[in-house]
Amino acid sequence: MLSVNNLTKIYPGDVPALDRVSFDVPDGQFLAVIGLSGAGKSTLLRCINRLIEPTAGQIIWNGVEITSATEEELREIRRKIGMVFQNFNLVYRSKVITNVLAGRLGYINPAWSLINHFPHEDVQKALTQLERVGIADKAQARVDELSGGQQQRVGIARALMQDPQMILADEPVASLDPALAHSIMHYLEVINKEEGVTVICSLHFLDLVHRYADRVIALKEGQLVFEGRPEEIDDYRFKEIYGTDAERVG
């Protein structure tokens, strides 16, 4: 279980991005995080694996306090948490297989990895993951030769290489053609349902939330304004989260 207690992040220049956010995520849950842009979704996800240092509050995962972990402990925690990004965050000039193998960096001997040497099992595993997301034939291609949808699959394969117990997905489909959204979300769903990996996913479209999430939390100006099942978001709640000007679509 992941529990977040009074998590607060104030960026330099007194920009409050998270304000005493508290919630729990049981293992194996698919949690959606919604909110307007600027609400603090990305900040929240990045605080969980401390890509961003929280200003205050606590994050405890399976009894380990992430917020007070030392650098080395943090690396061991991070390698158990896969991350998928809105902009894919792949290394565009490298090959697909190299990007996927990068998911193993937290596990393998650092000295070998510096000369780009990965154990044979890891290479096999990378090919298997690429097959799983349907782009096994692109393994040797350079990432910048791939389409957006294919790139996000590489991103997912990289996260899967970590043997994650949790996946943080920051608007994984927001820069993709809506038609592709379901195919990407589908992979996350499979990982969540079949392997019991906890997924915390920030989303823009409510229909995706309804379709995939077990539970939703909503942020507004850094504060938690809703927590519950997707069905519970009615018109009133919607206006509360997104503001009175918002129109419900989908």
Binding site: E71, F85, N89, L90, P110, Q162
Partner: protein, 609 residues
């Protein structure tokens, strides 16, 4: 639209500005001594014409020449006896002087026959009774017609003599095929030297600039933070590490010297060290199981790695000896390929000389790293109160260490022998600073050591970059003597600074996304650089390196002006010797090389990026 009316104030202001500009320019003329009188002088004009004509005829090709030289006796003034031309063999070239004597200032006619046709020749007056005397005064030019005949009006010089004097006409004729002149061959040699000078400087500069550029990149360094314990321990460890490794390096050199005279035993020991280091490395980097090992065993691979490194260094020392010996032995037997043997000797010697420095630095790095690791563990595990005291101690020790080093440097520079001044005072200042820092920070507070390193690196780079390579060459010449080596050092140093700056700007402009993603996988800092940073910076790095090579070729053509070797050395020599035709050859060569490099580098940059 409102119409602008120039106010009186505006006109006055404009007037003042123009007036001030005029004054500035007038003063500029004064200080730069712009004066056309010198320009108009006759002597200037003459030398100008001579130089320009010489420059227009670069000394590249020459012919073998056959000289037709004929002398005839001449009396100034006329003697009572024998003042007429001797008889000549009419089938050979000969000259007739009509008359063959006269008073100074009188004109006589010189007529030549049977010379090679259609050529220019020179007329010399030889003020000596010996027609082959070295002293020959050039009087004028002749041009032979198609029959090899010419006529020349000679004004007799003011050279009275009772004895016979001579007049000589020399016509030079090119024979055979043109071949490269000495100047051209020399120029070619030096151009090659220049290109390699630039190549070496660029290679050395690039290799060193790459790691430095990471230190000078703000985006990589700003997250590097350490606790005070860690920093102090690292400073102490680094210093001790360098000190101990210098001792170790001395021992190693001693071992290498022991067996030096016997090539066979050197090779045997070297092979042993090589094998030992190979096996230890294999053990040290043995692929880990995903599980954890316990107890002391955890550190065994690290110990193995350090031992492996020691054996590697010993191996290198021995191999250098082998290299030097082999090079010396084979060089005389290689003939045309002697430069290869020479290279082996020189290169081994270079490694041999720089090994102690490399060992000292690696030792410092290892000890620094280890103690910094200990420092981190200590500051993570211990409670605040205790840590405060530990920090106090370590921070004072670190302050003393740094200040003692600075103190001895100052003592050496200014030749201070006074112990108090170079030991006690710096030590107390260091202790004071250390104590103040430890008291003013919280025990576990992460200090921005990365930004500090970043700022220092930037400062040093900017300082080095602001010194022109030509000036560095002057200093390098004092260090290693006149020659291309000085040029390589000067250009290399300048290249490091310039490239590190350019590179680090590239590192700063990479996409932050991949960096974040690689960090999120649990990668350590070095892995993050290798997997997220390096792939992004390869194209600009290649492009900048090309650009720099181009620039270095340009610089290396003139670095010789300051004694740095290469073609510039030859050029400035020839200019000083007024040997303008050879200088012209070298300028031409420089122009060709620079233009070609310019084209090549832009073409290659276009290919890579």
């Amino acid at each position: 639209m409102k119409k602008k009316i120039p106010s009186a104030w505006k006109s006055i202001r404009l007037g003042i500005i123009i007036l001030m500009t005029l004054v500035v320019f007038a003063y500029g003329f004064q200080v730069t001594k712009i004066n056309l009188d010198e320009f108009r002088k006759e002597s200037r004009q003459e030398s100008r014409v001579r130089v320009i004509r010489a420059l227009a005829r670069p000394d590249i090709l020459e012919y073998q020449q056959v000289e037709t030289s004929v002398a005839a006796p001449l009396y100034i003034p006329c003697q009572t006896v024998e003042s007429k031309n001797p008889s000549f063999d009419q089938s050979q070239p000969y000259i007739l002087l009509i008359p063959a004597c006269g008073a100074p200032g009188e004109y006589i006619q010189v007529e030549g026959f049977n010379f090679p046709p259609g050529l220019k020749g020179l007329v010399y007056f030889i003020p000596s009774p010996d027609p082959n005397d070295k002293l020959a005064l050039q009087r004028g030019n002749v041009q032979t017609d198609h029959q090899g005949h010419f006529v020349y009006e000679l004004q007799l010089p003011d050279r009275h003599s009772d004895q016979v004097q001579y007049l000589r006409v020399v016509v030079r004729q090119n024979v055979g095929h043109p071949h490269f002149s000495d100047a051209a061959i020399e120029t070619w040699d030096k151009i090659i030297e220049t290109l390699f000078l630039a190549l070496l400087a660029t290679t050395i500069g690039t290799l060193l600039a790459i790691p430095i550029s990471f230190l000078a990149a703000r985006n990589l360094m700003k997250d590097v933070k350490s606790s005070l314990t860690q920093i102090s321990l690292m400073i102490i460890g680094l210093t001790l590490g360098i000190y101990f490794s210098m001792t170790i390096a001395r021992w190693m050199r001693g071992i290498a010297d022991l067996v030096r005279d016997d090539l066979t035993s050197t090779i045997i020991v070297a092979v042993f060290c090589g094998l030992a280091s190979y096996n230890l490395f294999r053990y040290g980097f043995y692929k880990p199981e995903n599980g954890k090992s316990f107890g002391v065993r955890v550190y065994l691979p690290q110990v193995a790695q350090i031992c492996a490194l020691l054996f590697t260094f010993q191996f290198l020392f021995l191999i250098c000896q082998v290299g030097i010996q082999t090079g010396l032995t084979i060089t005389p037997r290689l003939g045309n390929l002697a430069f290869l043997g020479n290279f082996i000797t020189r290169f081994s010697d270079l490694i041999n000389t720089s090994l102690p420095t490399i060992i000292a630095l690696s030792g410092g790095a290892i000890m620094g790293g280890l103690s910094s690791y200990c420092g981190r563990r200590v500051s993570e595990k211990l409670p605040q109160k205790l840590l405060k005291w530990i920090n106090f101690g370590f921070s004072i020790a670190a302050g003393v260490t740094i200040c003692l080093i600075i103190g001895s440097a100052i003592g050496w520079l200014y030749e201070i022998q006074n112990e108090t001044q170079i030991r006690l005072i710096p030590a107390s200042i260091g202790a004071l600073i250390g104590a103040m820092i430890s008291l003013s920070t919280k025990p576990k507070e992460p200090l921005p050591i990365g930004l500090a390193i970043y700022s220092i690196t930037r400062l040093v780079l900017n300082a080095v970059r602001s010194i022109e390579a030509l000036i560095m060459a002057i200093v390098a010449v004092i260090w290693v003597g006149i020659g291309p080596f000085a040029g390589v050092l000067a250009l290399g140093l300048h290249t490091i600074a310039a490239l590190a700056k350019l590179y680090s700007e590239q590192v700063e402009s990479i996409l932050p996304g991949p960096l974040e993603a690689i960090k999120a996988t649990g990668a350590n800092r070095l892995q993050t650089i290798v997997y997220a940073v390096i792939p992004q910076i390869i194209p600009p790095y290649i492009s900048f390196t090309m650009y720099r090579w181009d620039m270095n070729v340009r610089m290396s053509t003139i670095i010789g002006f300051a004694g740095g070797g290469g073609i510039g050395f030859l050029l400035i020599q020839n200019i000083n010797l007024l040997n303008y035709r050879a200088a012209s050859t070298q300028m031409l060569a420089i122009a060709i090389v620079v233009a070609t490099m310019d084209y090549l580098s832009s073409w290659m940059r276009g290919k890579f990026v």
